[in-house]
């Protein structure tokens, strides 16, 4: 029972770590959207027809911020039943993240990511657990997105061959459609399709496919907010195509981009304080 519970808690934490922009490009659209926020609003070359590589380069160029701090929540729906998890999180780059759960049943549970190492802390038992590699291969929240997907730090260009499929309107937004095909079988997905908002430079939708060609899941940005010069997703949805009636909605309630964070927050001492 213990390992399963820990795995689930990790899934929730990593989901938000992905939201924070810590995960690599294998995270779903809401992550890419968050990371693309560095693009000035309205600066998209809407009339030109850039190459897929240029679009990806633009996306990749906009995918980083030096640090982030936010409070967020996640609503997991299965059938008619919903569970809510809330947390505060902070991160520096892609290698350092700290998440603390604040909802009553998980209050004080913390997560620390340093590079490729992950630890969870359970305050009730003062228990620090290093997350095992095999758990990293587990699906997050029952989806086919593994923990390793969320931790992946390689970029799209390194892992996928990009092809521009054209332009489409998604939820009223004019988007470039880019298809990514895995260069190697080690890529988490054989194929993925992303819809990049041509004005806001956020990835408003993404589909991820298995090698069999089967759709595994779809993510969408439901609401974006302008923060400073950036558009930032504040409400996103992840739906598994393999499990009917399930979805997870992520909310970012308060976001600070590029705050000055204390490096001591990303230590074992902080995790276990």
């Amino acid at each position: 029972m213990q390992p399963a519970g820990r795995g689930r808690a990790l899934a929730l934490a990593l989901a938000f770590a992905s939201l924070s922009g810590l995960a690599g490009p294998f995270a779903p659209a809401w992550q890419s959207a968050a990371q693309s926020a560095a693009a000035p609003a309205g600066a998209a070359p809407a009339s030109a027809r850039p190459s897929a590589a240029e679009l990806l380069a633009r996306l990749d160029a906009n995918m980083s911020f030096s640090s982030i701090r936010y409070t967020g929540r996640m609503e997991i729906s299965i059938g008619g039943s919903t569970r809510s998890k809330s947390m505060t999180a902070m991160a520096i780059g892609r290698d350092k993240a700290f998440v603390e759960f604040t909802n009553p049943e998980d209050r004080g549970t913390r997560y620390l990511k340093l590079g490729q190492d992950l630890w969870m802390y359970f305050p009730k038992e003062a228990d620090t657990v290093k997350i095992s590699g095999h758990l990293l291969k587990e699906g997050m929240m029952g989806s086919d997105m593994s923990y390793e997907d969320a931790l992946e730090s390689k970029d799209y260009a390194a892992m996928y061959t990009a092809t521009l499929r054209g332009r489409e309107t998604v939820d009223g937004r004019d988007c470039w459609v880019v298809e990514l095909t895995a260069k190697a079988p080690t890529a988490p997905y054989d194929r993925r399709v992303i819809w990049i908002d041509a004005e806001r430079w956020i990835s408003v939708k993404e589909e991820m496919y298995a090698r069999s060609g089967k759709l595994l899941k779809t993510s969408r940005v439901l609401e974006a907010k302008r923060i400073g010069q950036r558009w930032f997703p504040v409400k996103s949805e992840l739906v598994s195509a393999l499990r009917a009636g399930t979805k997870t909605v992520f909310y970012l309630d308060e976001v600070e981009l590029d705050p000055v964070l204390d490096q001591r927050q990303f230590t074992m001492a902080a995790l276990t304080k």
Binding site: M1, T82, L114, A126, T128, R264
Partner: protein, 399 residues
């Protein structure tokens, strides 16, 4: 490492409990008020209040071969209140926390408390009403129990912290058995094990970003009977966490040295060893003892498997915290059947004494903040009616 206690000793201990509880309640209150005042003076403070209700009803049958079973039922219902405070501080911050638990025990749960008390396994700071001695004489079917699980105050400089008061200090890496977990005693609580806080002073210092140096003094009422330790732990390289411990146990007059690790090779492996050397004994080690555990966990899809072996150093029966024999095995297979439902089957086996139990548990995330588990358990223990089987529920509601 307590010896058996008589009922009169339990009675004497019980008389002191109320006084100790009241004293600790006042101290805990003072801690919170004082640290709260510090925080207010710095312009910000953060109080955190949480609570949970737990109810653990169950029924058990026990029997000897060829005899009729004896049935027993009982329940433990607890209200747990957690109060925490974090001060704002820049260079140094103050924080404090306390966890208070009040329980109602009925039927078999009362019998279990009396049995644990007779074995010296109940800490002296848990208060009962009526007292255990009175309950033993009167055959009371209902008991109220009260305790502070934790009550501590902390100063934190970022690179180091100092904590005073009742706290949980957990050094273990094992799922069930952790020889190097020398401080917080483990108790079974419903379907799982939980740790009791101990009264201690603790200085923790950062060693790089992934390491810790930990100094603990748990002096007890007689400082000579206390336990004092130093431990260093950290990430040695990617995938390998390890720790080393040296300690003196005044209660048992023993030197302790321990080491532990968790290694990630896709599957995860963990191990612990604790060497115990009685003071004054020869260095050849004829009186030394070794306790060790090793285990691994691995998963495939929605299944997770964990197995653990424990060698308890041939501690006399009844002294080991989890009643283990010389050689012991634990294994559990968990299945995350859905986002809200998990099932697991586990076996705990004392190989030396050929005793053990198996358990099936279904855990359901029933509603926001509410979890319900149903369990079945069967096995063979010691005593005049060695065979047993039982079933029960565990309901937890968090606020």
């Amino acid at each position: 490492m307590s010896e058996k206690r008589t009922m009169s000793e339990i009675d004497r201990a019980g008389k002191g409990q109320a006084t100790r509880m009241a004293r600790r309640a006042i101290l805990a209150g003072l801690v919170l008020v004082l640290t709260g005042a510090t925080g207010a003076a710095q312009g910000a403070s953060g109080m955190d209040l949480g609570a949970s209700l737990e109810s653990l009803p169950g029924v058990t049958a026990s029997w000897a071969e060829g005899a009729e079973p004896a049935w027993a039922w009982g329940s433990t219902t607890s209200a747990i209140v957690d109060l925490g405070y974090r001060g704002p501080g820049e260079a140094v911050s103050a924080s404090a926390g306390a966890s208070f638990e009040a329980s109602i025990l009925t039927g078999a749960a009362v019998d279990a408390a009396l049995a644990l008390a007779s074995l010296g396994r109940l800490p002296a700071d848990e208060a009962f009403a009526p007292s255990l001695a009175e309950a033993a004489v009167s055959g009371s079917e209902v008991l109220a129990a009260f305790r502070f699980r934790t009550a501590w105050a902390k100063l934190d400089w970022g690179w180091a912290s100092f904590t005073a008061g009742r706290q949980i200090i957990n050094y273990g890496r094992g799922a069930v058995w952790s020889p190097v977990d020398i401080f917080s005693s483990i108790e079974t609580r419903g379907l799982s094990t939980t740790r009791r806080g101990i009264d201690a002073l603790r200085l923790k210092a950062q060693l790089g970003s992934t390491g810790l140096l930990d100094l603990v003094a748990a002096p007890a009422s007689d400082t000579r009977a206390g336990t004092y330790s130093i431990r260093a732990s950290g990430l040695l390289f990617q995938g390998l966490d390890a720790g080393a411990l040296a300690a003196w146990s005044g209660e048992d007059s023993e030197f302790l040295a321990g080491a532990d690790f968790k290694l990630d090779l896709g599957a995860s492996f963990h191990g612990e060893a604790l060497w115990l050397h009685p003071a004054g004994s020869d260095l050849a080690g004829s009186d030394d003892r070794l306790q060790a555990s090793a285990g691994f966990d691995w998963s495939a899809g929605d299944f997770i498997f964990l197995a653990e072996y424990y060698w308890n150093g041939v501690v006399p029966a009844g002294v080991d915290p989890l009643l283990a024999g010389a050689h012991n095995l634990y294994a559990v297979l968990s299945w995350q059947a859905s986002d809200f439902l998990s099932l697991n089957a586990s076996v705990t086996w004392d190989i030396t004494d050929d005793l053990g139990s198996s358990q099936l548990v279904a855990s359901w995330d029933a509603a926001q903040g509410a979890k319900l588990a149903a369990w079945l358990r069967a096995g063979r223990g010691a005593g005049s009616r060695p065979w047993f089987a039982g079933a029960g529920l565990a309901l937890t509601v968090s606020f």
